[in-house]
Amino acid sequence: MASFAELVWLVPVVPLILSPFPIFAGDKLPRKGSFVAIFACAVSTVISAGALLTLPSIPYNVSVQWLLPGTATSIDVGFYLDGLSALMITITSGIATLILVYSLEYMSHEEGLPRYWTEMMIFTGSMLGFALADSVILMYVFWELIGACSYLLIGFWYTKPEAASAAKKAFVLVRVGDVGFLIGMILLYTNGHTLNLPAILSSPATLISSPQMRTIIALLVFAGAIGKSAQLPLFPWLPDAMEGPTTVSALIHSATMVAAGVYLVARLYPFFQVAPYALLVVGAIGALSAFVAATMGLVSFDIKRVLAYSTMSQLGYMMVALGVGAYGAAMFHLMNHAVFKAMLFLSAGAILHATGARDLREMGGLLKKMKVTGLAFLIGGLALSGIPPFNGYFSKDLIIGAAYQYGLVTGDFWIYLLVLISALLTAAYIFRAFFVAFILPPKSGATKEVHEVSLTMTIPMVILIGFTLVTGWLWSPLMDVFQPFVTYAASLGATPQAPSYVGLLTLAFALTGIGLAYLVYIRATVPPERFSSGRVLSKLRNLIMRSYYFDAAYDRVAAGVENGIALALDYFDRFALDGLVNGIGRSLVKLGRDFRSMETGEIRNYVAVMVIGAVLLILLFEVL
């Protein structure tokens, strides 16, 4: 019996190899080929979990050579299994499997299901390949595949103009970051002469001796992470991506696309550590994104958009953790966030499925009618706010504590302050959504009869509730099995621990946030309209509602570039291309003869151009 480590190459390969089945044979398979997709992801989950539990003590690397084996130009392509990648593939494949099971019911009435299954399989397979890749170039290949699949999935309802434009936006904005990643990778290769991951991680400082060059490369790679993880300033695609099916949002926001950005930094963390200022930038962008996203979450009325902003905000937390040297906490939060965010999205999907509403103002009193969905949303909200004993509490506490310690060491407390205030805002916006959707009575008369969704959809939610209660304890006062597990290099260091009063303060802030939401929405001591009245407040609200004008700015830029290219092409088509051919033809006409018909004239031109070309070459190379 081969060990799980030896089978690990199957993890990305199985979903990718089986992916053509639904789209080509889906109509003949039962349920449009859904079982192929679920089977593939389940196989990946089993192997990943097996590899995670029986992880060999030294990293397992299997690779083949591609592009001229045995020469200087050969590129190794293979998979690298260590604690970090084993954890990532287990999270990704496990959550993908649950989401696919959930989609069985959720997507059952849609057109084009075979396409959906195939794209989900490629999407998941690419993420698994990205996590396991043993060289930066292979990571980049899968990175691009993830981007392409997200484009297809966000635009799943391509006939809807909003969905099509959201998909385009996601593709373009993420690509802006990708260009940075690509240039960073090229610089890494030209300066360090290797793209092999173990080689880069073992001695990043000696690989590239110039610290400035290391910083440049690290920041360019981080630009890729900014795009994928929807951090400032490349975030506007994330809320728009809510136009895709909710299951796609759940997958994108928990374990695949946005996690890829954080994972990229975590994977290359030893390199970032030896790049001066790089981690400071990571932390700063993370803290700002966490705060900005939390404010936007407060004013959004679309339940899916609230969740989208919360993803951006939580990813900001992970970036902060990476920036302040709490590498373990970042991965811990990645795992916990994947669990509870998937659950929140599945819950939102259930609401959408049952009521057809995405706008919070059209919901109300749902807890009584949808018990499991409501419970899932409540527990997800508590975990997101950082309330014990749910998993979000443990990781968030570690990150904010580490940010505090970072402030003590460097004297920069603003990162700590930003994440602390964001913790309050987070609790406030998620409970605002919870209270309005589930507790308050519906505003308009609920004409539609609402029932709890079927078992196919509730079971994945229940499983995720179980995980939300469990995973946090893996790194808690009781035990710490998580941190040693993901620490793959000695340089990574332990997460700095803050004194316990910092944790209590964090908890107080989170509870205050929930309390505020309670006061405003349930007790109605302060009506919500008060927050948007008055000149300053209404201006502020307007600013936040418009995503700090990032959208408008990007639209301007895009329109400018598009018009420019169109004009240039039009000019080329009309003048350069037609002009060249016709111009030569016309000048020959002037030489004496007129065309008798287009056909003969053209051949004459062709031959003439040919002869002129020959004469020019001879003149150029012999006479001059």
Binding site: P20, I23, F24, Q65, W66, L67, L68, P69, T73, V141, G155, Y158, T159, L569, F572, D573, A576, L577, V581, E599, E602, I603, N605, Y606, V607, V609, M610, V611, I612, G613, A614, L617, I618, F621, E622
Partner: protein, 488 residues
């Protein structure tokens, strides 16, 4: 040499000659359209397999008083010629079924491969010219094959007139070289009197121009779009694969052997000429392809652009760049032939001519649409497909040479990025239709077995050659070193 070994080493051409005779006899006796097609396909397949074996085992045999020397390089080209012609014959079934005279097409296809095979093996400029014209003449016939179609006749006339002029230019070039050196053999050692070194240079430039017609280098490309568009699809596929590679075979044959001496004796910087033509050709081809609305015309311009990338291999003139060029031609011929065959299938089944007609075809013929997608992505240079690997290496080769030659790599990368636009448009139309148009109802799925065999062959080879590029390039390297090391 053992006569049996000699026979074996001549067998690729022997099989073709034999097939030609059988075809004539068959036509006299039975006049079976299908049978002609099968005979020629079988002969081409056999030639292809024999050539693969002979190319990889490094055999040499000379023929007709050493006028033709079949070595690894010739066999390597033989593989490309016979494989592409095989794809043409496999996909020509429905076209020949409708044609009045079916058998001549098979015969011409084999004649073209035979001529091309000899081009790749000739050691004498005059002999090379004769077999080159033999192959070209066969393609004139193929282009004019749908003789009742006005378009086909017009395409053939254009092709013929330009071809005739370039034949004149070639023969003029050869005669100038003869005057300058007193020899017409393709040899790495020749002498030139100091007064006539310029004659040699002009002769060489004229050769480049003449063969530039065949490979459609800018500005000698102008016949190509009209001819490709007007010719019946099998003839277009043949022109884009067999015929174009033959032009490169002639140039490789001449410049690989004579190149260094031309520079040393005549002082002609022919590498710069190829570099210049390369940048002009790829840029023009891509820009023109960008604005096309007809699929066939778009593929025609894209094939001009591909010539530009391949010219980099000649411009660099290192043995590595020649080896990459050989690999490039194989991958190009397969991807291009495959694209034309899918286009032919779509035109005959769905009446799809313009790129807009390709809307939603992935729903009607998913497997063909998928194959076309892969082949277009390969041509655009998306890893890990085979044309990407070829482009990667050819750009890598130019970076390796360094200096101003890096400009070729930069131009190539920019052009590849540009080309993705027009390839992606086709893929987009096939899968998500035109903007603002709703998808058609789910009709019956349509794939024809006669088309699927060549299409799937191209698909598999496009992927497999990209992943297993090591062996092919090793064979190509071997072929290049044996030729450049041998003095004829």
């Amino acid at each position: 040499m053992n006569p049996y070994t000699e026979l074996l080493r001549l067998s690729p051409v022997g099989v073709l000659v034999l097939a030609q005779i059988i075809l004539f006899v068959q036509d006299l006796v039975r006049e079976d359209k299908r049978l002609s097609q099968y005979i020629s396909a079988a002969a081409l397949a056999l030639t292809c397999l024999l050539s693969v074996y002979l190319a990889s085992s490094g055999n040499t045999v000379s023929f007709a008083n050493s006028t033709f020397v079949f070595n690894s390089l010739a066999y390597y080209f033989g593989v490309i010629f016979s494989l592409s012609a095989l794809l043409v014959m496999l996909s020509a079934g429905s076209f020949l079924g409708r044609a009045e005279y079916a058998f001549e097409f098979s015969s011409l296809a084999i004649l073209g491969v035979l001529g091309s095979f000899f081009v790749a093996s000739s050691t004498n400029l005059v002999a090379l010219f004769v077999v080159f014209e033999m192959a070209t003449t066969a393609t004139y016939g193929m282009v004019a094959y749908a003789r009742r179609s006005k378009l086909s006749a017009e395409a053939a006339i254009k092709y013929f007139v330009v071809g005739a002029v370039s034949a004149g230019i070639i023969i003029y070039g050869i005669s100038l070289i003869y005057i300058a050196t007193g020899s017409v053999s393709i040899s790495s050692v020749f002498s030139v009197t100091s007064q006539s070194s310029q004659l040699l240079d002009v002769g060489v430039i004229l050769l480049i121009v003449g063969f530039g017609f065949k490979i459609a280098a800018f500005p000698f490309h102008m016949w190509l779009p009209d001819t490709y568009e007007g010719a019946p699809y099998p003839a277009t596929t043949y022109l884009a694969s067999v015929s174009k590679v033959m032009g490169f075979a002639a140039l490789v044959r001449i410049f690989l052997v004579m190149g260094p001496a031309i520079y040393a004796l005549g002082g002609l910087n022919w590498e710069v000429i190829f570099g210049l033509l390369s940048i002009l050709t790829m840029t023009f081809g891509n820009l023109a392809a960008l604005v096309q609305t007809s699929m066939k015309r778009m593929l025609a311009y894209s094939s001009i652009a591909m010539s530009g990338y391949m010219l980099i291999g000649l411009a660099l003139g290192t043995s590595f760049s020649y080896a990459v060029l050989l690999y490039f031609m194989l991958t190009y011929a397969i991807a291009k032939a495959g694209s034309f065959i899918v286009a032919q299938f779509f035109e005959s089944e769905h009446n799809a001519k313009s790129i807009d007609d390709y809307a939603w075809l992935a729903r009607k013929s998913p497997l063909s649409a998928f194959s076309l997608t892969i082949m277009l992505l390969s041509l655009a240079g998306i890893p890990p497909l085979s044309v990407f690997v070829a482009k990667f290496f050819i750009f890598y080769a130019s970076v390796q040479v360094g200096g101003y030659w890096i400009l070729l790599a930069i131009a190539g990368v920019l052009n590849s990025a540009l080309s993705l636009y027009y390839y992606a448009r086709v893929i987009k139309n096939m899968y998500i239709g035109l903007a603002g148009e709703s998808p058609p109802p789910q009709g019956p799925r349509l794939e024809r077995i006669g088309y699927m065999i060549p299409i799937l062959t191209c698909l598999v080879l496009t992927i497999a050659l990209g992943l297993g590029e090591g062996t092919v390039i090793a064979v190509a390297k071997h072929a290049v070193t044996t030729l450049s090391a041998t003095v004829f």
